[in-house]
Symmetry: C2
Subunit: 441 residues, 2 copies
C-alpha cells in the first residue's frame, strides 16, 4: 500500500452557518461560522485516499484554501513510502520552503494549510496500514516516531535522545493502558453548555441535560462582562455541585494585569484553570498570570492558538502554563504535536487537548489516546475537550460513552466528511449558503 503514489490533492472551502444560533461564540469570536479547508488526497490506488482538514471560523477560509493549493505541488507526485520513510524531511520541506516560509514561518495561514495537508497524509498512512491513527502511533517503533519529528529549534528543551528515552520508558504498561482505553475511553469535558452568546435559560437547561448524561467537567466562556461572568459561573457551580470540575475560558480577552484581577474575582467558583487569559503569543504574560494565580489554586491553560513547537517550548520553559492544550490543526499536524506532547512529558505538564469546531474532536482524540498509552502514562489532571456539534457530517464520528471518548476503530484519522455534507456546505455555492443568501434578500 505504501508504494502508491499521490496523484492529486483537492481542497474545498466548507462552512457551517453556526453564527445564526451563537454556537461557538466567545469573547473574541462573537459570530463564528465553523468551517474547514477540506483536503482529499488521491493515489494511484483508487481505493486508497487520504482525508484531512484544518479548522477555521468563516471568513478567511478561502485564504487557507489558497495556501493549501500553493503547498500541494510539494506533495503530489510522491509515493506514500517516500514521505513516511523520511517524514522529518518531508515536514521540513513543507514548513521551510525557501520562498513560502517568508509568509510564516510556521505560523498563521501557512501553518494551518500545512496541518490540513499533513492531517490528510497521516490519514492516508493509517488507512494504508489498516489502523486507526492512534493505533498506528501506539504500535510504531519509538525510533521511527522520533524520525517523524523536526527537532529544529527545540533541542535546548528536548533532545532526540531524551524524546526516545521518554517513549521507551512509557512502553512499560502500555498494553494495560490500551486495554483500559478500549474498555473505558478517555475522559472528556464539555464546552457545549456555556457559550458566551447563550442565555441563562439555555445554560441551565444544557447543564442539567449534561449532568443527566454523566458529564462531570464543564467549561464556561467568560471575559465580556464581569457581572455576567460572576452570575453565570455561580449558576453553573451551583448546578454541578462542589465536586465536579469547572473551567473558565476568556479567549484572549484581557491584558495581563486585567487577567489577574478578573480571574481573582471568579476564584470563589473554584475554576481548575483560566484558559487563554491574554494574547496567545504572550509567553511572559502567561508566566506572570500563572505565578499570580498559583496561590489561589487556579492554573493557566493555553494552546489552541499557539502556533508551533517553539512557542510551546517557551511556555513550558517559562512555567507559563499548567495545562498544555494541543490542537490538531493549529500546528504542523501529528509531526509537530508529537514534539509538543513529548516536551510536555519532559516538563511534567498535563496535556488537555483543545477540540470542538468542526472535526477537531474527531482528530485530536487520536493524539490524546497516544499520549496516554505511549507517552505520559497518566490521567491525572488530564481530559479532552468535547463539543457536541457537527459530528453528523463525518463518516466516523466521535463516540462518547459516560463522558469519555471511546477509541476510534475505523482505519484513518477520522476526518473524512460525508460527501453530501461537503457539497451542501461548500462556500459560497453550496445549497445551504445559497438558501441563506436567498433569505437575506
Amino acid at each position: 500500500m505504501l508504494r502508491n503514489k499521490i496523484i492529486n490533492l483537492t481542497v474545498r472551502d466548507v462552512r457551517f452557518p453556526t453564527s445564526l444560533e451563537q454556537h461557538g461564540s466567545d469573547a473574541m469570536h462573537t459570530d463564528p461560522d465553523y468551517s474547514v479547508a477540506y483536503v482529499v488526497i488521491e493515489t494511484t490506488n483508487a481505493e486508497l485516499k487520504g482525508y484531512g482538514l484544518t479548522f477555521t471560523v468563516g471568513k478567511g477560509t478561502e485564504i487557507v484554501v489558497c495556501a493549501v493549493k500553493a503547498l500541494s505541488s510539494l506533495v503530489v507526485g510522491r509515493t506514500l513510502e517516500e514521505i513516511v520513510s523520511n517524514f522529518r524531511g518531508f515536514y521540513r520541506l513543507l514548513s521551510s520552503d525557501g520562498q513560502m516560509r517568508w509568509i510564516g514561518p510556521e505560523k498563521g495561514v501557512i501553518q494551518l494549510a500545512t496541518a490540513a495537508i499533513l492531517n490528510a497524509v497521516w490519514d492516508l498512512w493509517a488507512r494504508a496500514e489498516g489502523k486507526p491513527l492512534w493505533k498506528l502511533l501506539v504500535d510504531m517503533d519509538p525510533a521511527q516516531l522520533i524520525r517523524c519529528i523536526d527537532f529544529r529549534y527545540i533541542t535546548d528543551a528536548l533532545t532526540e535522545q531524551e524524546a526516545l528515552d521518554i517513549l521507551i520508558k512509557a512502553r512499560e504498561g502500555n498494553q494495560t493502558r490500551e486495554e483500559q482505553m478500549l474498555r473505558e475511553g478517555y475522559p472528556a469535558y464539555t464546552t457545549s453548555c456555556a457559550w458566551l452568546g447563550y442565555t441563562d435559560q439555555q445554560l441551565t437547561q444544557l447543564c442539567s441535560d449534561a449532568l443527566a448524561q454523566g458529564w462531570t467537567k464543564f467549561k464556561v466562556k467568560v471575559g465580556a462582562d464581569i457581572q455576567d461572568d460572576i452570575r453565570r459561573c455561580g449558576l453553573i457551580r451551583k448546578m454541578i455541585g462542589p465536586n465536579n470540575i469547572l473551567m473558565v475560558d476568556a479567549n484572549q480577552r484581557w491584558d495581563v494585569a486585567e487577567a489577574v484581577a478578573w480571574v481573582t474575582s471568579l476564584a470563589e467558583f473554584r475554576p481548575l484553570w483560566i484558559e487563554e487569559p491574554t494574547c496567545p503569543d504572550d509567553i511572559l504574560g502567561h508566566a506572570f498570570i500563572s505565578k499570580a494565580l498559583a496561590p489561589i489554586g487556579i492554573g493557566v491553560a493555553t494552546g489552541e492558538q499557539c502556533h508551533n513547537r517553539v512557542m510551546f517550548k517557551q511556555f513550558l520553559q517559562a512555567s507559563a502554563l499548567q495545562f498544555v492544550q494541543i490542537d490538531s490543526c493549529r500546528v504542523g499536524s501529528v509531526n509537530e504535536n508529537l514534539a509538543i506532547v513529548l516536551m510536555a512529558a519532559k516538563f511534567n505538564v498535563p496535556v488537555c487537548p483543545h477540540a470542538g469546531g468542526v472535526g477537531l474532536c474527531e482528530l485530536v482524540q487520536h493524539l490524546i489516546l497516544f499520549d496516554y498509552i505511549a507517552v505520559s502514562a497518566s490521567l491525572h489532571n488530564r481530559m479532552c475537550e468535547y463539543v457536541d456539534h457537527l459530528h453528523e457530517h463525518f463518516r466516523s464520528p466521535t463516540n462518547i460513552r459516560n463522558a469519555c471518548y471511546m477509541p476510534p476503530t475505523d482505519p484513518g484519522f477520522s476526518c473524512e466528511m460525508l460527501e453530501e455534507s461537503v457539497q451542501k456546505h461548500q462556500f459560497p455555492d453550496g445549497e445551504v449558503w445559497k438558501n441563506i443568501r436567498k433569505q437575506d434578500k
Copy 2:
C-alpha cells in the same frame, strides 16, 4: 481632502526574478524572488490615491493577495477622515475581525496583508496632507499619535501615559534634529556586498566599490558553513579595516546552543551584532544567546520576522535583543511600529530597521526619521539597513548620500511603483515572467 471616500482597492502580485543572480540569498532563503503584494486605493477624488505594499520572496505572494482581498471589504466605503479620526479603532477592526482573526491573529499572511493595506492608507493620509509620511508623523500632536496605537496586550510594558510622556519629552530639540536630518540624512549600512550566494570575487569587488562610495558599515550573511563564514568575515574585516563596522546575519539558521558556539568562533572579526541567530519566535532562546554573547561584546539583533508588538514587547522585557529591527511590512504598518519604537525607547534599546527587498527601504526610512526626530533623539548605535536593488521601480526612490538616507520630500509613503514596472513584473502574466517561461522551455 480627508472627506474623500475610498471607493476601490486593488491588489496585484508583482515579482522580480532575483533568484536568477542570487541577490538576496541567505542561509534559509536560498532562492528568493523578491516580490510584493501591491495595493492601490482609489478615492472619490481621482487625483488622490494611496499606494501600499507588503514584501514577500516569491511563491505564496498569491496567498497574501487573497488575504488583502478578504480584508478590503473593511476598507472600501469609508472616508479617510472616518479612518484616521479613530485610527486605533480601525486598526482593531482590521486586526481583530471576529472571523478572520482565527487564521492569525496578528501574524503571518493576514498580518502581512494588513500591513499592505494600512501602508496604503498611511500613504493616502500623507498625500492628503501634502507631506512625506515622516513629516506627517513628526508634525502630529502626541495625543493624536497615541490614538493611532492599539495598546491591547502591551500595557504591562508601556501605558498610554508613558508613551505620551516619551513623545512630549522628545519635543525638546526636535526642530534641530529635523534640520540635521534634512542636511545630513540618517546613517545607513549596506547588505549589498555579501549575500550568501556571492563568490569571494563578487564580495571583494562589491566591498571595494562600497568603500569607495563612502560606506562604513557592512553586513555579511553567515550560517551555512562555518569555514566559509570565517573566510568571508576575514576577507571583509581585512578590507574595511579595524574601525568600520561589521555585522553578521544568520537568518534563523541555528538552534540555541549552536548559535552561541558558531558566533563565538566569529568573535575575532568583532561583529557588532549577530542577526536572527535562531527561530524568530524564540524569545527565551534569544535571551540565552544575548547573555552568552555579552561578555565577548556581540549583541543580538532581530525583528524582520517578529510578527507583532506583543512579540517585540517580550523580546524587550526578556533582554533578548540589543537592536530592535522594525520592518515596515511584517507588522501592522505605522500603527504597530509606533508602539514598537515607543517600547524600544522605554527600554532604551536602539532601533535599527530591516530593509532591502522591494520597497522596504522606501518605506522604513520614514519610520526611522520619525524615531530620531520625535522619539529616541539619539543616533548612538543606530543605523538603517540599505540594499541597492530594485529602487528603479519606484516613483520616489530612496536617495542615499554619503551612506545616509536623505529624507524624502514627495508627499506620501514613497511606495508608489512605476505602473510600467508593475505590469511587466505581474505574476504570472507579465512580460518578464512570460519570457522566463519561454526560456525554460
